[in-house]
Amino acid sequence: MSLLTHKHLLGLADYSEADITTILDTAERMKEILERPVPKVPTLRGVTVVNLFMESSTRTRVSFELAEKRLSADTLNFAVSSSSLSKGETLLDTALNIEAMKIDVVVMRHKSPGSPHFLARHLDSIIINAGDGCHEHPTQALLDMMTLRQKFGALKGLRVCLVGDISHSRVALSNIIGLKTMGAQVTVCGPATLIPRGIERLGVQVTHSLDEAIQRCDALNVLRLQLERQEAGLFPSLREYHQYFGLTRRRLEKAPAPLTILHPGPMNRGVEITSDVADSEHSVILQQVTNGVAVRMAVLYLLAGAKMPSTEMKV
């Protein structure tokens, strides 16, 4: 019997409060392993993980790879540019071929929403979603929640505001789902063109004024402008965006109490966040990166470390 009630991590949508708490608690233990003189444990020896990244990524890919290595899994990296996908092979064929080489886990990033769900239906392997288009990015939300929990002790009742491009952000959706499950209050803030209509149905509050949001939250998660995923004309110019939604020191000074600042990276310094805010003592941006490895170790341990019925007695 495994500690999680799921085989895959496709998104946080079907993860319960107990599941998320188990992951965050396990991640704290993993963090301690990362601080040891030998930051490596033999736990996932014999487990093979394929990192199938079909969209560019630095942080997430490196973070997953490090997590896999810290747990002694065998890892295989797969980049789309050097693979047969560029010769026209379909995603399913590529995945089936990789799986035929006996692998256990696929960590996957793809530009199409739902692609990990599609693979989960066709493969026996455990699938971990590392970002699918503008849909979900569960491990990012988990590491954000881990960072917030370290700072505030608990997530219940915490007031978190997500600022920026909510429409194109998988980080936003996973954060909204995860934080709501954990009992936090979530506000989204951004220009009307970058906030999906009907988002209130997810139980979040909407504001179009950053100054107003600053007045009533404990932490701000500043999202990157997803310039590569946007069509033109959603806002007049980067300069104007910065004018209204850029997080500056001057804006933050109006907060009733110092706010904790998160950013999933990579930052567009001077656009959604200024350097003096990003590098300030209230920024936990680099802690997020450290926690990212721990969270991914926890997810890998909890999913790949559970007893697998199809491979009984496999040690």
Partner: protein
Amino acid sequence: MDYKVKAVLVDSAGFARTITRLAHEIIERNRGTERLAFVGMQTRGVYLAQRLARKVEEIEGTALPVGVLDTTMYRDDFRTALKQPLVRVTEISFDLYNMNVVLVDDVLYTGRTVRAALDALMDLGRPKRIQLAVLVDRGHRELPIKPDFVGRNVPTSINEEVRVRMTEIDSEDAVLLVEVQQP
């Protein structure tokens, strides 16, 4: 899982006496307390390590460091176990280098957890010597592991289990021999 208590092997008073004797033996064998440290294995080994350290302090007047070790990530059976084990805290806040470490566990059985603990300790540092102290040795070893300090030797059969209860988390100090009823 249901179980039936077959015998109380050690009661509360006996428990205290066993701790006292083990503490004396540890001091004697190590000719004092120099560079001595305890590492308790989660969960009850930790409380035993703390009690041994308190007793040693009473006798010798020196406070020894106590570390906490969780061996989950080093286990050889975690993917075959019926229930996936929760990863618990490891906290060894002193340098293991050149220390005489007394590894403490409640019940010694197959020896597999001790094997995992030895591997974990080696990754955490390089102690000069590791000794093993257990409250109960119930036999049935599957690996060549032998304890240095034993509270009680209890020959058992495979379908029996030894349950150590400690006031830190249970209602009493006791060692029970129980029979596990298979569901």
